[in-house]
Amino acid sequence: MRRLVNRWLVCLFTASGLFTASSLLTASGLVAAFVPLPVAAHGERATEPYIRTRTVHWYDVTWSSGSIAANDEITVAGKFRLFSDWPDAASLPDLVFLSNGSPGAVLTRVESYISGIPARQSARGLKTGKDYTFKLVMKGRVPGKWHLHPVLNVHGAGAIVGPGAWVEVTGKQSDYKEPLTTMTGVKIDDLQTYGVARAQMWHFGYGVLALLWLLWWLRRPLIIPRWLVTQKGREDLLITSTDDKVAAALLVTVLLVVIIGYKQTVEEFPNVVPLQAGFVKVPVPPNVPEAASIEVKNAEYDVPGRSLRMDVVITNNTDRPIRVGEFMTAQLRFINKDLPAAVESIDPSFPKDLLAGAGLKVGSDSPIAPGESRSTTLDATDAAWEVERLVSFLSNVDSRVGGLVFFYNDQGERHMSEISGAVVPVFTQLGSKVSTKAPEILNARVD
């Protein structure tokens, strides 16, 4: 008998230990999926470069403040271009949701807009090759230093993360409150706790009823005697007429509690609405003619030099002379430091780690006259290519690069064009085809 008990116990303890451990792991794993690490690299660099360089290009992004108190608001606003050369491997932006990248609910949403349309729900009808404005109003909740990005979730392509800036939330978490008044005039003091006690009260009551039922059975001789008696076919001893009466009373209690409770709840909340599951439609912005067109003749990524070099032909379609001011891809901004208008375009709130130190070197940097087609080189060299993990296009099935180029005319007006083309990795200097030394010769060759 004792040996039997021991053997059973060993088996059961082992099995239950394994089950409990695995269920806890599953539980915490699932939670972890919603909790990004509270450090800088919370996934923004993990996205494939072809997504980051050829889908959503965020620009003119500003953060209204770098430090807010808990319960104070911060606005992240700007624009994004949905890239025309959208990669085949990612779904087109037919269904999107504007969100924010921050570790969990440390900052809470107040309002969000795409092109001025409220974006509480997901939005349909966005088109590639178009520009959209966005605005995210957030509120500080948990004190700490948090990296805050705008994010466009594209159904079938995943979260496409915009530039991130550090935002410090000061004060205490208890300063944060989320009061709300319903359309029927019910005042909710704090959404964080609303309804919790009510649900717990019901769950507790149900739990007591369940526990009484379990104890009704567990207080008697259990496992071995009941098993032996079952084997002998003496069920009459195991379930008595008293048990029948208790079960009937319990069933009636359950039905009464549920029916009466439900009726009272329906009277208590006469006006309820279902979850709102519709999508909003964002109108298609009008076509803006490209002020300058760029054709990529050759593009190469110099692996040891951490440098992207492109031979391009730029055609000025405006009636004023223009110069190249900036090349931007995957949130990295390469600024032509020889052009004051481009340097002035950097908002003070823009994160410094996304500004490439050496900037953009333009081979033939003199103003491009109206109607002129100019061959030149663009050289974007920075360790950021490595730091931002953008060079896996070397191992990608679709070795292309894309980005935005900003031009400025002599009056300081800005124009924007998309640039995209195949990129060839170069592992030694011998393999290089693009020369940044002699743009004149290149011009001659193209002409």
């Binding site: 008990v5 116990l9 059961l12 303890f13 239950s16 089950f19 409990t20 269920s23 806890l24 939670v31 909790v35 969100s99 609910a105 809470t108 949403r109 409220p118 509480r120 997901s122 159904h155 709300l180 319903t182 959404l191 964080q192 609303y194 309804g195 919790v196 769950h203 149900y206 739990g207 369940a210 379990l214 059975w217 567990l218 008697r220 001789p221 259990l222 496992i223 071995i224 005697p225 008696v229 079952t230 003496r234 069920e235 001893l237 195991l238 379930i239 079960a247 319990l250 069933l251 359950v254 039905l255 409770g261 208590e268 909340f269 309820v272 609405v273 279902p274 979850l275 599951a277 999508f279």
Partner: protein, 271 residues
């Protein structure tokens, strides 16, 4: 110990000492069994009903009402079969759902609230506990898995929505936000961001159910009761199957490969 308990021990032919030992065994088994029932129920619920149970803004009139009872009745039926067939104990469903509810609240406080900063209002769980108690009570009254499956499982599905509505109805009051209407639940889901969880992945009220308007919920509840019947029978059979240990006879060569003597055991000698 009442008269009936004494009769049980007498019928089981347990000596007073053996009866005492078996009671110690009972207490240990209750603890071990509780962990087993809890974790098995928990895993199946996480895997099969996941988000509908996690978040208040997933608790819709269609899938939540349909999926949650259909999933929880699986383990309820499985454990009910095991406890009933082996021990005539009508507690499988209640134990499974009570332990699950306790576990869910622990994880809500510890992980969702403690680790991920979510407010508890976002992660209010649903419960099938009242359904489970009714299921066990009907098993006692009918003594039949066939009737329990037909009446009890239907009731199980039907009771789910009203027994939860009492707890969460307040989350479905209308609110105006940015010029459109939303429920309080939608607002909680919107205000507290879940990273990597865009709004469009919510699977709520798809298809033609919306045309039933206010009756949608009872259409779902009845359909849920209907599906629960099948869910119950399937898992009752799986539970019953688990009550019948089967042995595969192996030869002496197999035994010796695993370190056995390879000789047939002599009569009276225990393996």
């Amino acid at each position: 110990m009442n008269k009936n308990d004494a009769l049980i021990l007498q019928s089981a032919e347990l000596s007073p000492q053996a009866a005492q030992w078996s009671r110690t065994f009972d207490y240990l088994i209750i603890v071990v069994g509780a962990f087993l029932v809890w974790s098995v129920t928990y895993i199946s619920q996480l895997l099969l009903a996941g988000d509908w149970d996690f978040f208040i803004d997933w608790k819709d009139r269609q899938y939540w009402v349909l999926i949650t009872p259909t999933v929880t009745i699986m383990m309820a039926a499985g454990f009910q079969a095991i406890f009933w067939k082996l021990f005539r104990l009508p507690i499988g469903a209640t134990a499974s759902l009570l332990l699950f509810l306790v576990g869910v609240w622990i994880v809500r406080y510890h992980s969702w609230y403690g680790m991920a900063y979510f407010p508890l209002s976002l992660v209010i769980p649903g419960t099938c506990l009242m359904s489970a108690i009714a299921l066990d009570a009907i098993l006692v009254l009918s003594r039949s898995w066939l009737i329990t499956g037909m009446i009890g499982a239907t009731l199980y599905g039907l009771l789910f929505y009203p027994s939860n509505w009492v707890a969460i109805a307040g989350y479905f009051q209308p609110v105006e936000h940015m010029g459109s209407m939303a429920s309080v639940a939608d607002m909680i889901g919107y205000i507290y961001p879940r990273s990597g969880t865009p709004e469009y992945i919510r699977i709520i009220e798809r298809g033609t159910l919306r045309t039933f308007a206010d009756h949608a919920i009872w259409v779902s509840a009845f359909f849920s009761g209907f599906v629960c019947v099948f869910s119950y029978y399937i898992f009752w059979f799986i539970g019953s199957f688990a009550c019948n240990p089967k042995f595969v006879a192996v030869g002496t060569r197999f035994k010796s490969a695993f370190g056995g003597s390879g000789k047939p055991a002599a009569a009276g000698e225990s393996a």
